[in-house]
């Protein structure tokens, strides 16, 4: 067994489910012969045929909408948006239908669909190719929003998402699609969609991040260790519904917290996490929850994207602010 990348973890999960369940169909723009612009569906059409791994016309509203129809009629659609920046025309069908059909029909119908999209910046892509607007979708009742941050979690969480009886938005951090390799047996073992992952244990401060931002966050934790500061690093992975308990348990130890995300700060998920910490851990908090995030401006073209994205130095500054509070 050879070590695989995060994007290969996605492919392995798709192949596993296509093999296991004849109801699974994968579709989107260029997912067929081209194997997806990031090769996430590499080879799948050859193996499973054009009916099950299909290129669609260029229409995101359509991609989001037909997935609803397929799911309602007993298929297990896995729809790809080529980039998160092009998902917005699909929001209406996700928010108004995919997440509501079960409730609307009081359980008569259901909508087990997975919407996949590469997300996040840092790959020197053109405009609209670096979006991270997970907060928009995490506000939508009835949806699950899942973000893997390692090959193993990509594999296990995607298996779980495809098998989940309800709609899932599965956001793939493209900046780390090939950043690291890991041995991931094709065991068919899903990972839970309601548990945060503690990636590193520590008792001095809690660092929360997901997707690609975990890279810099873990590096900062390592750096802090050198200074004798023990940082606990938590990857919520399933951003909605959020496993706040694991976070609160960590705050019990640390009393200090930094949330890191690429997305703009205002109305980002850092706000929800900070708010819930305020609600559940008010007396535990020794310092304000620090949000280290993208700025509240448009994701710039790539010349400035690294100034926009939170880096180690900004994360570290957040950590210091939390550790040194009150001055």
């Amino acid at each position: 067994m050879t070590a695989i990348t995060l994007v290969e973890g996605v492919t392995q999960a798709l192949a596993h489910e296509l093999r296991r369940d004849p109801r699974v169909v994968v579709f989107g723009q260029d997912v067929g012969a081209n194997g997806g612009v990031f090769r996430a569906t590499e080879g799948l059409q050859k193996t499973f045929g054009e009916e099950r791994v299909r290129d669609t016309p260029l229409a995101e509203t359509m991609i989001a909408g037909i997935a609803v129809g397929m799911a309602v009629q007993g298929l297990r659609p896995v729809a790809e948006f080529q980039f998160m920046g092009f998902i917005y025309p699909g929001l209406d069908h996700i928010l108004s239908h995919a997440t509501r059909l079960r409730n609307r029909t009081r359980g008569r119908l259901s909508c087990p669909v997975v919407y996949r999209a590469p997300y996040g910046g840092g790959i020197h892509a053109p405009e609209h190719h670096s979006e991270s607007t997970e907060a928009i979708f995490a506000h939508v009742p009835g949806l699950r929003v899942v973000v893997p941050s390692s090959p193993a979690r990509a594999y296990g969480l995607l298996l779980a998402s495809i098998r989940d009886p309800d709609p899932v938005l599965f956001l793939e951090p493209k900046r780390i699609y090939r950043a690291a390799r890991q041995e991931v047996p094709d065991s068919g073992e899903p990972l839970p969609l309601d548990r945060a992952f503690v990636l590193r244990e520590g008792s001095d401060i809690t660092l929360i991040a997901w997707g690609a931002a975990l890279r810099e966050t873990l590096e900062v934790a390592e750096e802090l260790a050198g200074e004798g500061v023990k940082a606990e690093v938590i990857d919520p992975a399933t951003l909605k519904p959020l496993d706040i308990h694991t976070i609160i348990d960590s705050l019990e130890k640390t009393g200090r917290c930094v949330v890191v995300h690429e997305a703009a700060r205002f109305g980002g998920l850092g706000a929800e996490i900070a708010a819930q910490i305020g609600e559940y851990a008010f007396d535990l908090l020794k310092a304000p929850v620090q949000r280290v995030t993208g700025y509240d401006t448009v994701m710039p073209y790539y010349q400035l994207e690294n100034q926009y994205l939170p880096d180690q130095s900004r994360i570290l500054r957040g950590v210091r602010a939390a550790l040194e509070y009150p001055r």
Partner: protein, 366 residues
């Protein structure tokens, strides 16, 4: 401007189907299914739809129902469409659908419950596979396209019988991208689906000619390479026949069809609307001359298959049917508030238990 020589690369025709004209006269031999029994049944269903709409509007006026969209004058479309499907086919309604829903076996009290603000009405006890009523314009057409793919897939790969997805929308809906994206997919994927457009000439206050510049709605299928026709939507025989043929072609793997059924909205858009603000009186009066129920009645009386006596019996029977339904609607038990959580996910996520408890406590002790 110089006129260059150009080469013809493609041509398209749009045709219109009618069997009964506005005066109830046959304009050509009727199709095989049009036996006296069938026509009487169609007449009955149109009459029922009209009565249900009438009762629903009265319920709204007396505060017992929310906003309600009547199908007055368009009964031939719903009844013609609904009757042309097999039980196992999948119907994807919009919201102005009384006739089609009744044909599909949806209960009157379910229809009332939906507009009475109760999701349980969407339960469709006798049409379990059909989609619920759909409010966001034209979105159901994309769901129908996805369903058509699923039906084709399950027929070809899972050895299930050939089934068809049928969906309705208004002519206003054809201005929305969803309509076109769905139609284009039906064409390129050759999906077993039939789209029927209820062209009732108005989208709330926006008349057809401000909705699109095309002389017909049917021709919009040319943009998707889908076959299309226009039918007289006030002629239930034409509607039923056109839909039945299209459904048969779809079932046989011969691809999708767009059907424009021309009619007229003889009522307000909904009970929340007042059409007198924008609709010319004169236009309404002319439209009333070609309404579908009288038209079929005239024809049937002409062939001796209908009479004042039969009409009387029918109205008595339908009145009873409606009274029963209204009683069931009025007497249905209130739904617990926690129902808003019970079907959000298959299982209530841990993260929501606290809110669920909060709501339940509110309800027991407000």
């Amino acid at each position: 401007m110089h006129k260059p020589k150009m080469q013809l690369v493609a041509s398209f025709d749009i045709a219109r189907l009618q069997y009964l004209d506005a005066r109830g006269q046959a304009t050509q031999p009727l199709p095989g299914f049009a036996t006296p029994d069938t026509l009487q049944a169609l007449y009955r269903q149109m009459a029922l739809a009209r009565l249900v709409d009438d009762r629903a509007v009265k319920l709204q006026r007396t505060g017992q129902l929310g906003t309600y969209p009547s199908t007055l004058g368009q009964e031939a479309i719903g009844v013609g469409v609904g009757g042309a499907l097999r039980t196992e086919d999948v119907y994807c309604p919009y919201y102005r659908e009384t006739g089609a829903l009744l044909e599909r076996g949806v209960e009157i009290e379910e229809i009332l419950a939906i507009w009475g603000g109760d999701e349980r009405g969407q339960g469709f006890r006798h049409a379990p596979r059909d989609l619920p009523l759909c409010v966001p314009i034209a979105t159901q057409l994309l769901h129908a396209a996805g369903i058509a793919f699923a039906l084709k897939y399950r027929h070809q790969r899972l050895d299930e019988p050939a089934r068809v997805a049928v969906s309705c929308a208004g002519e206003g809906a054809t201005s929305k991208g969803d309509f076109y994206e769905a139609l284009n997919l039906l064409g390129v994927w050759q999906l077993p689906a039939v789209f029927v457009i209820n062209n009732n000439q108005w989208a709330i206050s926006v008349p057809r000619h401000r909705q699109t510049a095309t002389p017909t709605i049917a021709q919009k299928a040319v943009a998707a390479g889908v076959s299309a026709l226009q039918v007289d939507g006030n002629d239930v025989i034409a509607v039923r026949s056109a839909v039945a043929d299209a459904v048969a072609r779809a079932r046989g793997g011969e691809g999708p069809t767009l059907i424009e059924a021309t009619s007229y909205r003889l009522c307000d858009h909904t009970t929340a609307d007042d059409a007198r603000r924008y609709r010319p009186e004169q236009e309404l009066h002319e439209a009333e001359q070609s309404e579908p129920l009288v038209r079929l009645g005239t024809y049937l009386r002409g062939t001796g298959d209908w009479s004042d006596e039969l009409e009387g019996e029918l109205q008595r029977e339908l009145a009873e049917v409606c009274e029963r339904a209204l009683r069931n609607y009025a007497e249905r038990p209130r739904e617990s508030a926690t129902a808003m959580f019970d079907h959000l996910y298959a299982e209530l996520p841990e993260a929501l238990i606290e809110q669920y408890e909060e709501l339940r406590n509110e309800e027991v002790a407000p």
